[in-house]
Symmetry: T
Subunit: 69 residues, 12 copies
């Protein structure tokens, strides 16, 4: 690991199901253009309310990936 350099990006994913799925959706979408993702950290957890129900969950992540040397 000492010879790696990581770059971090910040993403928000959402899901109508639960918090874990909102995280998975963000990572799945990012994987189309970002390679070598290694970890994430939850920055913020939110949601939208419609008719007094949680309509969807929203999680903001910082994601780290290795820059190939």
């Amino acid at each position: 690991m000492p010879d790696h350099v990581y770059k971090h990006i910040e993403l928000t994913g959402s899901s109508t199901e639960n918090l874990e799925q909102a995280i998975r959706n963000a990572i799945q979408r990012a994987s189309k253009t970002v390679k070598n993702m290694r970890w994430f950290e939850v920055i913020d957890t939110r949601g939208h309310i419609e008719n007094d129900q949680v309509a969807h969950w929203q999680v903001t992540l910082k994601v780290g990936f290795t820059l190939e040397s």
Copy 2:
């Protein structure tokens, strides 16, 4: 949205099941007296432990609702 004013309140809900249900319980109870809730943000996540088990989950939310003009 430009012509809306929002007010925020802070609530703690709890559940013996999981984090999402603690959030839903807080919103459901608040809906008895608060109308037009639009979003929430998780402020704090806690729980109580009994006999080395999580007895219930506790989530503190900031909830925003529109003030009708």
Copy 3:
């Protein structure tokens, strides 16, 4: 409660399933040596990514327990 003194420790648990199970794993392991745990607070939520999937969830907790007087 007024006559109790609490000590806090900080733990990180992980799980391949979900956030709640990562918390339960940390508490279960700590219970081997720590008695009288009463509450926890989530400090940080992270995860590891392998092949564009969440490989495991990691939750850091502050746990409070009573010091017997």
Copy 4:
């Protein structure tokens, strides 16, 4: 001032013009139901973007008012 007790509320106002007007709109709307407002503190400044332009400014305030004794 020593014999006053203040209560604080949190509001978000918005404006298509500028930041000061978003603050004034929040206070004007709140004054319909809240008396004796004395000060505010800016908590958060945001905005919405449409067609690469700032469509409206959004300011979140903490507002303090005296509770009459």
Copy 5:
């Protein structure tokens, strides 16, 4: 406790005597309209100075109370 929902309010109390009395004054005044207060957390501690003396102490509290179900 699992079946309670709490609401939080923020108050500032003041006293010419000491910090504890400023807290008690805020709670006493709030009790005229708020029922079932259970805990408080100190958010901020300030004071006013007149003639190089502390003229009064000011403590801002977050107070939690149960919403009856």
Copy 6:
């Protein structure tokens, strides 16, 4: 909105006029390469002083935009 994923970038814009124009300058420049910007949040507000005058205003923003799915 549930089926969107957002990415966030951080920018600093400046203006010799006022704070709002510094924000507009950052967004205008970013729009050359970033599509679908939806919101911004002010992270930091600074300025440079020359000859005891504010020479220019500097605002750091977090900007969110949708990743097309």
Copy 7:
């Protein structure tokens, strides 16, 4: 002091009297098992309310002690 290493622990003490006594109670209890305590820092100040009165004060401390070399 350059040749000392300190370890920190976090404690919560409580008192029905005042904030200073809650701090003293935490230190007195910890002294049964921790030697060479040198300083503390207040992390959090809370209290419990019963019948609209402060029933007890609760102070959370970080305490530093020297590890003997």
Copy 8:
């Protein structure tokens, strides 16, 4: 710049007009006794309310100036 040492001071300026003028007033007043001011950072934005109107704007700044070597 490598051979400069900066000192920082904290100021609050106010204005009945807008946020930018409150900043300019703080810098103008400080310039009577402080030389070589180079930058400022906004720490806090507040205001006083009278008769449901913003009576004046208050901005707290950290200001940096070079110490001549």
Copy 9:
């Protein structure tokens, strides 16, 4: 108040008695050279421990005073 500019300084006072006296000691000492002090805010509360007792209390304050125009 709109035409005042405030400067802030940071001080630490200490006392063998209690927290309020540590604050008063800091203000009393500062009054020898600083005029027109108007308010303070508590930044940090600490103490030194000797022989398992609180030897003295230490409070760090931000103090605001008016710059005469």
Copy 10:
């Protein structure tokens, strides 16, 4: 400087030598694809431990670069 817009990225570099070299490694690697880097700010300092020794130092940076207009 008033007519510049900056973009910020976040990087983690590591080194078996010391903190300064971890920072230089991150900047050197980023320079392969990022032009016009002007400043950095340290966000986080960490390290890995193997056999009770620091195996490598890890520094997370925010780096600002000018967007050419």
Copy 11:
């Protein structure tokens, strides 16, 4: 890693030489009683001044180690 539970401790090390050595001293001393240390994070960096020189450097660390299952 999914089946590990980590515990964190907080330490302050010091050195008359530099920041890296203060960190190494804390870890070396802790290794006498703590096994399986894996990482550290710098929490705070301080120092003592004598005769206008840095007499020693002081670094506070959070250290994580695995609890064997």
Copy 12:
């Protein structure tokens, strides 16, 4: 120590060499006008980049000194 009052100032020093030297430069320059400096705390660590190299290191310190009574 109980009978001392400390005042804190904030300084930024810089160096082309390393972080420790930037701190020493700030303290050395301040010693021309400030007596009885006792400790410092690192508030912020930054640097300037020229031609993809760290041109100089910049450290912002809070420095405490005793006010003679």
